[in-house]
Symmetry: C2
Subunit: 229 residues, 2 copies
């Protein structure tokens, strides 16, 4: 029997690659999307397609109303998504986002009896968010030892896999292409339209486009008409 894993799938490029890696490593993968009031709902539709395409055994969605707290351009319609790179941690950072997502993944893992969670965070070609670093992943894995029935009863926490954490965006794309990921299915844009077409100018679009160029892979992204693809 395959080991069971919960894989956080946003519908973006990184999480699709993460799911492909988890499948390649032989895990029985249970996709989980967390809807935290982000603007880009079309990413969640992409998540369903990605889970189906890449062989997750199922896919669940959990909503968490972080928009009630504000504080990010991704959850507060009064804060514009910036169109150029800024110093420091940008306004698209959603406070405590990865902790909230890993917590919900841990809850799901506990219910279905999974020992592993996969998350597509990346600390190289990324937006500079704090909760994407190896020390964060290690601290969460340590927490899981004390936070669940299984952890306390067995003394073993979750294995938290972040297989992209030290890869460049170009490396991630090359790895995904080798594993058969169809990136045309994915949506990374912070302000994609209802059909999933990308703006071409936000931080996430910029990093993604540069990644395809550096990987020497044709960019299959659907851009909004007039966007610089």
């Amino acid at each position: 029997m395959s080991a069971r894993a919960v894989v956080l799938v946003s519908g973006g490029l990184d999480s699709a690659t993460t799911l492909a890696i988890a499948r390649h490593e032989g895990f029985e993968c249970h996709g989980l999307s967390v809807h935290y009031g982000q603007r880009h709902l079309s990413e969640l539709q992409a998540a369903k397609r990605v889970c189906s395409h890449l062989g997750a055994v199922d896919h669940r969605e959990v909503a968490v109303g972080l928009d009630a707290l504000g504080g990010s351009a991704l959850t507060d319609p009064n804060i514009d998504v910036p169109t150029r790179q800024t110093d420091g941690i940008p306004v698209t950072y959603v406070p405590a986002r990865n902790t909230v997502m890993l917590s919900i993944a841990m809850a799901h893992a506990e219910v279905i009896g999974a020992n592993a969670v996969f998350i597509g965070v990346n600390a190289v070609d990324y937006s500079g968010y704090p909760d994407c670093r190896p020390a964060f992943i290690d601290a969460f894995a340590n927490l899981s030892r004390w936070a669940t029935r299984q952890g306390v009863e067995t003394g073993q926490g979750l294995a938290v896999h972040a297989p992209l954490i030290q890869l460049t965006k170009a490396d991630i794309i090359r790895r995904g292409v080798a594993l058969g990921v169809d990136y045309a299915m994915t949506v990374s844009c912070y302000q994609a339209d209802a059909g999933g077409a990308a703006c071409g100018v936000c931080d996430s679009c910029r990093i993604r486009r540069d990644g395809f160029a550096q990987a020497g892979v044709l960019d299959p992204t659907l851009y909004q008409s007039g966007a610089s693809g």
Copy 2:
């Protein structure tokens, strides 16, 4: 200026006492209730009353759809709430509940610039849930050092206060009474009715009733008609 804190307030006895302690220690308290699909919605109405009564400067609610994951008698209507004490971790345990709640509290703290979070977990007279122990609280505080903008930029994580963690239920009640908590406002029952009246037979009712008896304090709980109060 007072230090600012987020206080998790469920509407139950423990979190009301925790809020009173945080106020007594001089914190500017921001109440936060997390609605995770639990059955006892009347607890959340109690949370509003408690925050107002005990001087929180505001109160927010965040919903998180843990009921989509199942696995607990508190979120799954197909699992009955037990009416007698069981060995081990009971079915009322909500997987990863305290991690999810602390994560959302951490997000709120980051948005409002609070350095402290209070949670009313208790590891003495409690239901035996895993995520109520000092090691869990310490692991979460350590995680916060790596999980937020403030943690990464300053090297300082959140102070996670769990002032009840080593108290008996009777001690908690005595402390609350001394601080002016009106426990008639609180609802602890796992299956309270729409008016907040308690069943008298679930684990939470049993622990609460015994606490009042041991503290020598008149139990002000409103029980459902026919319930053993």
